[in-house]
């Protein structure tokens, strides 16, 4: 049942730090976050870590376990051999605050740059009508728990600090795609996706999809369709002319017009 596991945990702050060795008890059914909590209760009461729900729903306990971006609460100890040394490090793409806690404010700044949902001005609350099949496309992306592991793993920013100003990462390209697919949204965000969020930086290596704990098909279902719509706009002469007259978003083919409340 129980055994002692060997852990290396990165400890330090923005001025520097390194891996610290621990030997910790492990019981049946535990996850990596349980082990981190045991460390806090015993050897390292000031070990800094973020967590909330411990059930994979809030996206707080993101870190890198043996180099792979993961949620600590959803990484079971049974996936490691008992003699394996398990290394926990903070997300590499974001600046360290302390130990396993990083400064993720980049993500909140990018979120603020995405033009918000805009329903038709004359549509009253209670009168929204949408078909299930139409909302499902955006619903997949709204499963996102904002753990930011996709943005952590994306090499366009992971290895290129300088791209952070012009590239928002998979999380927010997906957010743009989500709004774009919302059956009742009226804004065209294609220009913004390219100019302000760096859609072109994504070269669809699908690393983001691989690490998503919600198993969202970020690349296939969000980013590639967005790229396609941008390409349509750029190269479709009829669309270019239509856009001169203001109405640039086709939605009639996707959704029936909203009806009135019965």
């Amino acid at each position: 049942m129980g055994y002692k596991a060997r852990f290396k945990v990165w400890r330090g702050d923005k001025s520097g730090g390194g891996l610290e060795d621990f030997s910790v008890d492990v019981n049946e059914g535990e996850v990596v976050l349980d082990i981190v909590h045991r460390l806090q209760a015993t050897d390292a009461p000031d070990l800094a870590v973020r967590w909330n729900c411990k059930a994979g729903k809030c996206g707080s306990c993101s870190a890198e376990i043996n180099g792979r971006p993961r949620l600590m609460c959803m990484t079971r100890m049974s996936t490691f051999a008992e003699d394996e040394t398990i290394t926990i490090t903070p997300m590499r793409t974001f600046p360290v605050i302390r130990d396993l806690v990083t400064d993720v404010s980049y993500n909140y700044e990018k979120a603020r740059m995405v033009p918000a949902f805009s329903p038709p001005a004359d549509l009253e609350p209670g009168d929204y009508r949408m078909a299930q099949v139409d909302v499902e496309r955006s619903q997949e992306f709204r499963k996102c728990i904002e753990c930011f592991l996709c943005n952590d793993t994306c090499h366009a920013v992971r290895d290129h600090e300088e791209n952070k100003t012009s590239f928002s990462g998979p999380r927010f390209l997906m957010r743009i795609s989500e709004l774009d697919m919302h059956p009742l949204d009226t804004v065209d965000r294609r220009e913004v996706a390219v100019q302000e969020h760096g859609l072109g930086y994504c070269n669809i290596t699908k690393c983001c999809t691989d690490v998503c704990p919600e198993h969202i098909k970020i690349t296939d279902n969000a980013i590639i369709p967005l790229k396609e719509r941008v390409a349509d706009k750029k190269y479709d002469p009829i669309f270019s002319i239509a856009s001169l007259f203001g109405k640039t978003k086709e939605r009639a083919r996707r959704t029936p017009p909203p009806g009135k409340n019965a």
């Binding site: 411990k54 603020r112 033009p115």
Partner: protein, 628 residues
């Protein structure tokens, strides 16, 4: 004094869950400069954990539903101890609050006509819960978060500053509310988790939206944040809490493996057809239908099963009784030796729905069991047992404005009391957050308006005292590690003031609490002030102790069993006790309680019930005239 960051706002909202964010949106839309202060990152609050849905009588699935039916269900669920005015406002306003979320961008599951779909839930007469699969809380928090961002974008266009009217102070903990000599709110004091630096918010209005107290219990569905901060802040500022003896043990938490014990298994599993069985294979809930609900629930499995497709001609299965009834039943089955190998009962959907439907309707549950317990819920039953989930009790407020008994202090959501009486129905929490979050935000804005130029002032002495208090754990030497005391507190509350209570055990809990108090005063913290969880816990522990004392004192006082308070030595529900609220206030370093009479229900609301039903709850003298 060490360096202090100072901010000045019209309204400070503490907590960034559903209630806090809705309050902030309201205060900001009334032109008030608003700060949102939260212990975690923006968008991580406990609301994210809500699964089943938002109760609102929109009548999209069954057109017979309306606010009166919702009101009746809520009062029955709370065993008539609810603040009837809150229950009324809640039932009337919930649909508007849900529709409003759609204007913010929320995407609920739809009916075939394209309206918001609604699902069945325990204690609700009709399908009433707007939902998104089993991740409704995530949709709610993200929608409100994104609405705040859109307001910030509007402000940016108007002022060039995203944060000119609404600013989020994330990972910031408030340790004390500051009041002036008249007792009115002047500000709030706290620290940033990241740096350990102190911060002062000067503000005439504070909205508490801090959620619950579950972290005082060992088996809980609640996160580390749920340490009763708002309850304690309000009492220390001169306010009061009520109904603190009523704790909801959600009937279905995971029981295995040990590290996930307590994690919630949504009630939607039962709403969508899941059944509870014991180790002998019996659907035991048919043996636990209490008298007050006898005529409303099916008496045979056959009738219960027919209800899912023909609700007009059959009664609902007893798996969908209010949560307190189901939790007690599970507890009794396990005690009688009919539990599962890991001390729970079986909850089965695998034999009731096709695998594809389960994965579609309950995706989070499917993943949760698959990834945390290696259990495929489409193939085998889950093992479940009660888990501390929600506190019905909370800060005593004016129903219409959310105003607490301290000028300038408001509360909404789980931290406030009254709305749910002795037991909350599933789905009534998310709607509560929105209805009363909005009302508290409005109440705060109007209060600030009424003050004009004369605002209560923060003095240096108040700030110095708050700083001293927050730094105390660093100045003690040789004391205990806070984690040890916390885990002992959790064991004590779970074992002695848990789902079934007796006088002797609650008295024992009170004795232990005295011991913890003395030990917490000497707790020692290792390390510095920057992001130090040990220090944070040492401060949170004081709140947990005060709130735990309230729970225990109120539980000892109430000599009856009702909703989330079950006394083995007083097993009967008493109409006399229904007329009484137990109110707690801070007293020295502990809590004191007084009994307070309930306001009698308005006559037109009383008329919504059959007299025969009222007789089950009310005293003879309270019944409508001519009904005897």
């Amino acid at each position: 004094m060490t360096d202090l960051e100072r901010h000045s706002y019209d309204v400070v909202v503490i907590g960034a869950g559903g209630a806090g964010l809705r309050a902030a949106i309201e205060a900001r839309s009334h032109g008030k400069r608003t700060a949102i202060v939260c212990k975690s990152l923006f968008g991580k609050a406990h609301t994210v954990m809500a699964e089943g849905g938002i109760a609102a009588a929109m009548g999209n699935v069954n057109s017979k539903d309306n606010w009166q039916v919702h009101f009746r269900d809520t009062m029955r669920g709370g065993k008539f101890l609810n603040s009837w005015r809150m229950a009324e406002l809640h039932a009337k306003e919930a649909p508007q609050r849900v529709w409003e979320l759609e204007t913010y961008g929320a995407l609920f599951d739809r009916t075939p006509e394209g309206k918001i779909s609604q699902r069945n839930f325990g204690g609700h007469e009709y399908p009433r819960l707007a939902h998104v699969g089993d991740r409704t809380g995530l949709e709610l928090i993200r929608t409100l978060q994104q609405k705040i961002v859109s307001l910030q974008q509007e402000d940016f266009h108007a002022t060039g500053d995203y944060e000119s009217h609404i600013k989020v102070f994330a990972e910031c903990t408030i340790t004390r509310l500051l009041t002036d000599e008249s007792g009115a709110i002047a500000g709030a004091y706290g620290y940033f988790r990241e740096t350990g630096d102190f911060v002062l918010f000067e503000s005439p209005a504070v909205v508490l939206a801090t959620g619950g107290i579950g972290k005082s219990f060992k088996v809980t569905s609640n996160s580390w944040e749920y340490t009763g901060d708002g309850h304690a802040l309000a009492m220390r500022a001169g306010g009061s809490t009520l109904n603190m003896e009523f704790i909801q043990f959600h009937p279905t938490g995971m029981v295995w493996p040990p590290s996930v014990k307590g994690i919630l298994v949504t009630e939607s599993v039962r709403g969508d057809g899941g059944v509870l069985t014991n180790s002998e294979g019996t659907r035991f809930m048919f043996d636990y239908i209490p008298d007050v609900f006898k005529d409303k629930y099916a008496t045979t499995p056959e009738e219960g099963d027919r209800w899912y497709t023909d609700p007009d001609n059959n009664r609902r299965p007893p798996e969908l009784l209010p949560r307190d009834e189901v939790a007690r039943a599970i507890n009794s089955e396990v005690k009688a030796g009919r539990g599962t190998p890991h001390g729970g009962v079986y909850l089965d959907v695998s034999s009731r729905l096709p695998a594809e439907t389960i994965r579609k309707k309950l995706p989070s549950m499917y993943h949760q069991f698959k990834e945390l317990a290696d259990v495929d819920i489409t193939a085998v039953p889950m093992e479940v047992g009660p888990t501390c989930h929600y506190v019905m009790g909370g800060v005593e407020v004016e129903p219409d404005t959310g105003s607490a008994k301290v000028p300038g202090l408001f509360a909404a959501g789980e931290v406030s009391g009254g709305m749910h009486g002795s037991n909350r129905l599933g789905g009534n929490s998310l709607s509560d957050l929105l209805v009363f979050g909005r009302r508290a935000g409005l109440g705060a804005a109007e209060y600030v308006e009424s003050l004009g130029e004369s605002r209560p002032q923060v003095t240096d002495a108040m700030v110095a005292a708050a700083e001293l208090e927050a730094l105390a754990p660093f100045t003690t030497e040789g004391g205990e590690n806070p984690y040890t005391i916390h885990s002992e507190l959790q064991e004590s509350m779970n074992d002695l003031v848990g789902i079934i209570r007796t006088q002797a055990e609650v008295e024992q809990a009170l004795e232990r609490l005295e011991g913890f108090k003395a030990r917490v005063a000497h707790v020692t913290v290792k390390g510095g002030r920057a992001f130090n969880p040990g220090w944070h816990l040492a401060l949170d522990l004081k709140n947990m102790l005060l709130v735990s004392e309230c729970v225990a004192r109120a539980a000892l006082e109430r000599q009856e069993s009702r909703g989330g308070h079950t006394r083995e030595d007083y097993p009967v529900m008493s109409p006399e006790w229904r007329q009484v609220n137990i109110v707690c206030r801070a007293d020295g370093d502990g809590a004191a309680i007084v009994r307070q009479p309930l306001v009698p229900m308005r006559e037109d609301l009383l008329d919504l019930f059959d007299v025969d039903e009222l007789k089950k709850y009310l005293t003879e003298a309270e019944l409508p005239k001519g009904a005897h």
